[in-house]
Subunit: 187 residues, 2 copies
């Protein structure tokens, strides 16, 4: 089997479905609001955007030199693009594959001192704690918008998922520290 552009194509379509924008703003948007479950690099974004145009899924309205930077290319989704996006949304999502370097290091723990792992876990707890707070802040913000009849329910749902994951990771790390310390005391 072939015919698989990867998911980047659909991410671009999803972004353009919200509003016409440039590759740069798509990148910023993903960095700011998607980073806990998705990321895209410029090396994917720009070629994918060009492919979208070649396939008739988006069109460009070239706003050369409107003040910002060195001239921007604004992409707008077409009806065919919306159809393509909608079709993809119906497909069963692939099973996610994750790479947690911390877990890898924990699993190789016998090859280092427990203090090394405890240090990594401390940093991990701090980071996840901060992320939980960020997510909760974002969820609250969405709630406020909702009162003003601005709907961001789906963004709120993904933020809620972030809050769940980061909490779980923090709780696990706290428990992991306890178990490692207990094991040390036994010796």
């Amino acid at each position: 089997m072939k015919e698989n552009t990867g998911k980047s194509k659909y991410v671009m379509l999803g972004m353009l479905a919200r509003m016409p924008q440039t590759g740069y703003t798509i990148k910023k948007w993903i960095e700011n609001e998607y980073s806990h479950f998705w990321q895209e690099s410029f090396g994917q974004i720009y070629p994918t955007l060009k492919k979208l145009v070649a396939e008739g899924l988006a069109v460009t309205s070239n706003h050369t030199q409107n003040g910002n930077g060195r001239g921007q290319i604004v992409y707008t989704i077409t009806d065919a693009g919306r159809k393509e996006l909608s079709d993809w949304l119906k497909e069963e999502p692939e099973i996610e594959k994750i790479r947690y370097e911390l877990l890898l290091k924990v699993s190789f723990g016998e090859n280092t001192e427990p203090e090394v792992l405890l240090g990594h876990l401390d940093n991990f707890i701090r980071r996840n704690d901060k992320l939980v707070k960020e997510m909760n802040g974002y969820i609250e913000l969405c709630g406020q918008f909702k009162e003003q009849d601005i709907d961001c329910s789906y963004s709120q749902l993904t933020a809620l998922c972030g809050a769940y994951i980061y909490s779980a990771m923090r709780d696990w790390a706290v428990e992991a520290k306890r178990i490692i310390k207990e094991k040390e005391d036994d010796k």
Copy 2:
């Protein structure tokens, strides 16, 4: 900056630190016990193993044709390899980057019917439920080994992390379903 072979190198070293083995058994091991936080493909494993030998971090003891398949190459870690692994374990783990296709689809939810999302969430709940059970089974197994003085504490810790994550994901999905339905009823 350059000089970054990626993490595969250290995964191979960590695997070989346990026992001398072939690329194939490394792959199987990662699939069976690491899949919830790491994965490697043959396209990475075999070339990386060769690099390890070139760098003096592993040696091969060529057991050509000992009965299994078409002849195997057994890799054994060297002292230099153990040093390299130990040094890497001390380094601060990189921030993980994750791609949850389901979350992406939820965040683009406005472009499809709520039923589509609810269906995806149902499958997601089922899958995560199964995984939680798998993890708990594995944790229990480790506990039994411990009574026989076989230490698999670190594997147990990573399985515990899996249990935490998968539970969190399941709980989130249940809550997400509730929120989406509630929103539908409001209309």
